[in-house]
Point group: C2
Chain length 332, copies 2
């Protein structure tokens, strides 16, 4: 029995490449008193982890090589020294890109078997919680307002739009293909969706928001943020959630023109957040998200890839916009 592990071999100098990773096989680690050995069932890949590979430190700290690539997993307890987390339990943990991981019991959350593991990584995991707290606590939309969301077909975006609809808002998505846009409107009930790769993206975005934008949920930064700034209404709010347009490059673009000038003229609040700051309220949020799923008001998109060895390619593809919804790699 071996433990396949995918290590960060080298930090990307431009776009992320497969060669930045290296697959090694090691023996399955031993555990000590207080520790738990977990077998990875599935892991999630999110664009935000690309920021952790950038030369400058992100909120995750300075990047390192020679370590296993980080990522949240749903795992099965394979061996345990801790009564509260018995062998066979299903847990969510920061397992990373490997077959087996070792944790202190405090790093694990035991979850029940009633849901697909993917749901613990998507809608009830960091992505769903990010959508929930970012939109409702930072953006604070009111019924009747227009909410614009970028990376709208992504793991966070597709949930943001649906929650905004539940709150009674007009919802407009920005995505990177006509197919994604069509699916946002037809399958998720977005009021409109605009392809940012269109030649007339700005005009299309303006037409899709005839009453302007009250809340812009920004997953991308860059030019889409610049366009949104021009559409914002007086008193608008920009939720700064992620900067996916700037992760996969050695040359992040300058900030948008209009910052801070348009923020003054339009009295805009632009606010960044990290979901971890809301940890005390996770269980309430999960209960609400679960309720909306049960009521068929929230459709969860999961984008599955098979095999740990395919994780690097799945990540490279995700950064190029290849995913729809939360990208999950099934491992064991």
């Amino acid at each position: 029995m071996k433990n396949r592990r995918i290590l960060i071999d080298e930090l990307p100098s431009g776009k992320l490449e497969l060669s930045n990773y290296r697959l090694v096989e090691e023996s399955v680690p031993e555990i000590e008193e207080g520790q738990v050995l977990c077998r990875t069932l599935a892991l999630t890949i999110g664009a935000g982890t690309r920021a952790g590979l950038q030369g400058s430190a992100s909120y995750a700290g300075a990047p390192q090589t020679g370590i296993v690539m980080n990522g949240t997993t749903v795992s099965r307890v394979a061996r345990s020294t801790v009564a509260e987390v018995p062998e066979g339990a299903l847990v969510v943990c920061p397992g990373g890109w490997q077959d087996y991981s070792v944790h202190e019991a405090s790093a694990l959350s035991v979850v029940d078997e009633s849901l697909d593991p993917a749901d613990y990584l998507g809608v009830l995991g960091t992505n769903g919680l990010t959508a929930y707290f970012g939109l409702l606590h930072v953006g604070r939309p009111q019924a009747g307002e227009t909410v614009l969301v970028s990376a709208a077909a992504g793991s966070v975006g597709h949930l943001v739009g649906q929650i905004a609809s539940i709150e009674g808002c007009r919802v407009v998505g920005v995505a990177g293909s006509d197919d994604k846009c069509r699916r946002l409107v037809e399958a998720l009930g977005f009021d409109a969706a605009v392809n940012y790769k269109s030649d007339d993206f700005r005009a299309q975005a303006k037409a899709a928001c005839p009453d302007g934008v009250d809340v812009y949920f920004d997953n991308t930064g860059g030019e889409i943020l610049g366009t949104a700034l021009r559409l914002m209404n007086v008193g608008g709010r920009i939720v700064c959630c992620g900067v996916v347009s700037q992760y996969d490059t050695a040359n992040p673009s300058p900030g948008p023109r209009g910052v801070p000038g348009l923020l003054v003229n339009k009295r805009i609040r632009m606010e960044g957040f990290l979901v971890f700051d809301f940890a005390d309220s996770y269980s309430d949020a999960r209960a609400q998200l679960h309720r909306w799923m049960d009521e068929d008001r929230l459709t969860v998109w999961v984008d599955e890839v098979e095999g740990l060895e395919n994780a690097p390619a799945a990540f490279v593809d995700l950064l190029a916009g290849g995913n729809v919804g939360t990208r999950i790699v099934r491992v064991g």
Copy 2:
């Protein structure tokens, strides 16, 4: 008796020039029922009005030529058809750069004679109210926090710093000359002040804020904003008040790198405001500002220029950083 009026002759194509204005002499206007004729005593010149001359519309609307240059004045009522505003009353009004202006009574605020007219244009006018509401209602500093303010020797900035000191904060100013910096520390009690024209401005700013920055009151935008962003603490607030670095040019620079990335990592709230949104609370704010003046806790800097004909030169000089405190032109 003539009415000298300074008209906007042509919109500036780059930096503002004297030739953008034209002085004309007309007869003193007649008034109709409901109107009041005001003789200008003093007018205030603020950098924000430069934005109104830019090609793109500011919050003040699209710029126009052939009209009198706008500006708030303290004026003496010269003729009146309205009992509540009798001849001889002292008023604050949007008189503009001219000897005489005509207003509906509703556009006037009658003020008493106990203060210097300059105070009605500075600390108790738009500048003081902007400092008060921007710092306290948008920035919301807590005692013990560090407040950084740019254009710190300017009409708004010198008051922001002092109010932050009153609130128990460490106060650091950014200004454009060593002399201004010295005066901020020695005369106004700033804890430190840094000249942004220094070669090692970034290092000096960092050294002046050993605990980072919790509230940055931004009057400038541009590179100073970029420097401040890097010094911000987690949970920091950036009060977007003005963009003086970008007004006097045909080529505003792009927004700062780090927007929105640093806003996410540091959970920063960046918020624009216009003082007019707080009009309902002006009288409370004026009372507080007046109290602080009486208690010698607030020192008001006024920078006087004599003669209406010198207003254009005073404005050009102000945009080059020539003023300390609120620039007032004495007219009549």
